[in-house]
């Protein structure tokens, strides 16, 4: 042993040097515990290594090592959340390249190498994994997708994926789907790179989530550093693993501190506040396991695994194989899975060598198994992230359930079974009559009469009926019954475009009354309260709210948030930032979800996500169009931490199921729509429209300036620019909203909708 020390003393001292700097990384500075002095001593020993006798050197090294070990133990004992963040961000932490080299047997990087790459922050590789079963080797092919933080290389942006990087990830996910091989995704990102350049950070993440929610191969993800939207872009999976010294969070602790402390741009965020937020956000692996946002923790050494920790890589390899096995087995018959689970448990209790497997499981799936996989995924996401309160008794809940199932069967019969038959009969009749055999008319006429008797025409209006200008104009609207309370002031306001277009000052009662909050000369839309839309967009008295008993809560027990929540509830008289209701536009019934600004700036948390999903499901059972009207959304509610983030994939899964079942999902953005919701369940809609003067984007100008260091033009997020970039499909005037919405419902959507 001693001999080894002497021979490798240079290498050994370099190792000690790294261990001290690593401790410095964790603690935030080398000043802690006088680490800098210790470092100096190591450096001195390194420089004068040939001045010492063997004995001196040996005792010196031993002394240094003892002291370092003492420090390491002390740090490990009192590891705080902010220190875990520091571990996850340390340059000495393992990266995806290390995993590819050590966990997989061979790999081929796809879509570029190093900096010759569309986005070096996202790494994609075809890799091979070996499984040893009783001294026989089996090979698995997998698609590895992840972020590369980059061993200090600048061009990787520290693992912040640009939109085109996420697009690359999605492209290769589809390749994996075609080839039928599982996807292993590794998340090492502090967040997505905030840029609106095509395809746009938010839009691309939304597209990724939309596709991943129904990707027909097993997906297993591993989180080391999971920063909100960037993590979700490749993180929607059947099994989510997490390193015990990783973090998974809705926002960086610094960002949360800046928001919580209302720190002005350019000012320094106090360290204590950052630490406080890191603790409050529940970002560690253990917290996330309790919140059920992850499925399993992979244990790392007390101070985190580093790039040369080969035993950790062995464990990771074992866990990745095991997780993929489980996902695959869940799609198979229950008996086989049970047998496997029992076997595994028995073995694990025996030893923890993490080397051998008892059985070989093939990772390719049949069609029925694929269907089951998607079912499992949907179930999994619908189960998690339920940190809301239900203000209803258990009896009420049971009644609700019974009503739901009744409704389901009613609509299935009315619009499914009966309509299916009526359609096929109609089709035959049409085909027969189109042959032009007039003499057949005598035969078909009684048949048609009989058909009309059995299947009477639906009461809802058909397209021709409503468009007939003689009977009814779609411009007839009963506007005047609601006038915005903003109009009750006797004063004037100036249009923000007055300098550019010479708009005249507007008298407030005119502006908010007759002009509907629109500048008559330039068309600028002044913000209006959400009630205006409730009253003017839909048919009179058609708005029927549901699920209002679901209330926002404080699932993380975030300090001070209860008070804020109470205040918001008192101010708005509502329980969450979303209103879901049935409504009608020109007698076409539809389901609407409306995020509004008065309640915590329209941020999305567990209650909002749940209400959105229930509205989505309601639209699916009743076969109605589904409109998401976004009065304002400020993103995911940071006070609900990862429970909020998980609403992104959750709601996207529900939306995907609705769209796949033939629904019409439309999103209309108004005022300000940013961040998480836009990057998931809103951005994935095929029909997205902005109201004039609205702003749509991923990150606000301040966040862009702070993360990328580049300034953005003042109209960067405007609806007009969003349209130019192809993020939305049109810009509507507020006054034409009702008309356009009706037209959209008549012209878009599949025949699956009830009125078609």
């Amino acid at each position: 042993m001693d001999q080894k020390y002497i021979l490798d003393s240079g290498k050994y001292l370099a190792g000690l040097y790294d261990r001290i700097t690593y401790l410095g990384d964790i603690k935030g500075s080398l000043a802690w515990g006088r680490l800098d002095q210790l470092l100096e001593k190591v450096q001195e020993t390194r420089n004068n290594i040939f001045e010492f006798t063997e004995k001196e050197l040996l005792s010196r090294i031993r002394d240094l090592e003892d002291r370092i070990r003492f420090f390491e133990e002390r740090v490990a004992k009192t590891l705080r959340p902010i220190e875990i963040v520091n571990i996850a961000r340390s340059v000495q932490r393992f990266t995806l390249q290390d995993i590819l080299e050590n966990v997989y047997d061979s790999f081929t990087e796809l879509g570029g190498e190093g900096d010759c790459n569309i986005d070096p922050a996202v790494l994609v590789a075809r890799a091979t994994l070996t499984r040893r079963v009783k001294n026989r080797l089996y090979y698995h092919q997998v698609m590895v997708i992840g972020h590369e933080k980059g061993r200090g290389e600048e061009y990787r942006n520290g693992g912040s994926a640009k939109p085109w990087g996420n697009e690359k990830a999605l492209r290769y996910m589809k390749v994996a789907e075609t080839e039928g091989i599982p996807i292993h995704s590794y998340i090492f990102t502090p967040g997505a790179y905030p840029t609106e350049d095509y395809p746009g950070a938010a839009q691309q993440i939304a597209r990724n989530l939309f596709q991943m929610s129904r990707i027909r191969v097993p997906v297993v993800s591993f989180i080391s550093e999971g920063g909100s939207g960037g993590a979700e872009a490749i993180g929607l999976s059947d099994m989510r693993l997490m390193g015990s010294r990783g973090y998974y969070s809705v926002i960086s602790p610094e960002g949360a501190a800046a928001i919580e402390g209302r720190i002005k741009e350019g000012e320094k965020v106090p360290q204590e506040l950052v630490e406080h937020c890191a603790a409050q956000l529940r970002i560690t692996a253990r917290d996330n396991l309790i919140l059920k946002t992850i499925d399993r923790i992979i244990e790392e050494p007390p101070l985190g695994a580093r790039r040369d920790d080969f035993s950790f890589f062995r464990k990771l390899r074992y866990e990745m194989i095991r997780a993929t096995d489980e996902v695959v087995l869940k799609t198979k018959s229950l008996r086989a899975f049970r047998a496997y689970a029992l076997k595994r448990q028995a073995r694990e209790s025996r030893d923890s060598s993490c080397e051998d497997f008892d059985i070989h499981i093939k990772w390719s799936l049949s069609d029925t198994e694929k269907a089951r996989l998607l079912e499992c995924r949907s179930e999994k996401y619908r189960k998690i992230g339920k940190g809301f309160r239900q203000l209803r008794t258990s009896l009420g809940r049971k009644m609700e359930k019974a009503r739901d199932s009744l409704k389901q069967s009613y609509y299935d019969i009315r619009y499914g079974l009966l309509r299916h038959h009526s359609r096929s009969v109609q089709k035959i009749l049409e085909e027969v009559s189109s042959e032009g055999f007039i003499f057949l008319k005598t035969v078909t006429e009684p048949m048609r009469a009989a058909y009309d008797f059995v299947f009477p025409k639906p009461e809802s209006p058909s397209a021709t009926e409503v468009f007939d200008p003689f009977r009814r104009s779609i411009f007839v609207q009963d506007w005047e019954h609601y006038i915005s309370p903003l109009a009750n002031e006797d004063r004037t306001v100036t249009c923000p475009n007055a300098e550019k277009y010479g708009c005249r000052d507007l008298w407030v009662p005119d502006l908010y009354g007759e002009f509907c909050g629109v500048c008559p000369s330039c068309g600028h839309h002044f913000p209006l309260e959400y009630q205006w839309y409730l009253e003017n967009l839909f048919d009179k008295d058609s708005v029927k709210e549901f699920n209002s008993h679901i209330a926002s809560a404080n699932p993380l027990k975030f300090e001070g948030f209860d008070k804020k929540l109470k205040k918001a509830k008192k101010r708005t008289g509502r329980r969450s930032a979303i209103i879901t209701f049935d409504a009608a536009v020109h007698e076409i019934k539809l389901v609407v979800a409306m995020l509004y600004s008065d309640f915590r700036s329209g941020t999305v948390g567990c209650a909002e996500g749940e209400k959105f999903i229930r509205a989505c499901d309601r639209a699916r059972t009743t076969r109605r169009p589904f409109l998401a009207y976004i009065h304002t959304t400020g993103g995911i509610r940071i006070h609900e931490g990862t429970l909020g983030v998980i609403q992104m994939p959750r709601c996207t899964v529900a939306v995907r199921e609705y769209i796949d079942s033939g629904g019409l999902y439309m999103v209309v953005y108004d005022n300000n729509s940013y961040a998480g919701p836009v990057a998931s369940f809103l951005g994935c809609s095929p029909y997205q429209v902005g109201i004039r003067s609205s702003r749509i984007g991923f990150a606000g100008p301040r966040v862009i300036r702070e993360t990328t260091g580049a300034d953005v033009p003042p109209d960067y997020h405007s609806a007009k620019n969003a349209l130019k970039r192809g993020h939305i499909q049109g810009i509507w005037d507020r006054r034409d909203f009702r008309k356009n919405l009706f037209e959209a419902m008549m012209t878009m959507g599949s025949p699956h909708l009830y009125y078609k």
Partner: protein, 214 residues
């Protein structure tokens, strides 16, 4: 083109400022936010999106409107007696004196004495190859042009158009663009000096260069 350069120079020397008068855009009650002699700044930022210094607030119909400075300079002749009173539209409230530096004065003088040839539309502009070689060789002498000479090429959407010079004959004194620059419509391309005025202009410019201190 008959401008007395000495007068012009004397004028600039006695009052080296450019005055921007600030008048009210409409009626209202004025309350000033600046003091006499205060330095104010114009809009800043890459897109001039950060407004300049707040000059005064004009309130009409309970609509207080913030009027910010569009120029950088010093506040002068501030009419403090109007503070808190109702004023008519077009009432002069203050003047912003922008102190001209050496280059700005030269530029202004040149624009007065030279005949400026402007870009007819937004496009890329080039001198013809012969002109370029001439300009490179004869840096001292300067290129003389006469009416109708085609010395500039306008390049737009892969189409090159020769533009004839339409001013009085003279010598190209100043070029405002680089070869192949994208020039906005109506921006100056080059200035032509009448041959008889050339020595005098050169002398004046030289004098400003040496004598003027910023």
């Amino acid at each position: 083109m008959d401008i007395n350069l000495n007068d012009l120079l004397r004028q600039y020397k006695s009052h080296p400022y450019e005055d921007h008068h600030i008048d009210t855009p409409h009626t209202g009650v004025v309350s000033f936010r600046v003091k006499e002699g205060q330095e104010v700044k114009g809009p800043s930022g890459q897109w001039l999106h950060r407004p300049g210094t707040l000059l005064y607030i004009l309130e009409r119909e309970k609509n207080p409107k913030k009027i910010t400075s569009s120029f950088t300079g010093k506040v002068a002749s501030l009419r403090t007696e109007l503070e808190g009173t109702f004023v008519q539209a077009g009432e002069r409230l203050l003047t912003i004196q922008h102190k001209l530096n050496r280059d700005e004065i030269i530029d202004r003088i040149l624009r007065k004495v030279l005949h400026i040839f402007r870009a007819p539309q937004r496009a890329r502009y080039f001198f013809t190859p012969e002109t370029v070689t001439f300009l490179e060789k004869e840096t001292e002498k300067g290129l003389s042009v006469s009416t109708g000479d085609e010395i500039i090429i306008m390049s737009l959407m892969k189409r090159d158009t020769f533009l004839p010079y339409d001013g009085p004959p003279g010598i190209i004194y100043k070029v405002y663009f680089q070869q192949g620059d994208l020039v906005e419509q109506d921006a100056p391309l080059f200035g032509v000096c009448l041959p008889e005025k050339l020595p005098f202009v050169q002398k004046v410019i030289q004098r400003i260069r040496t004598e003027w201190d910023d």
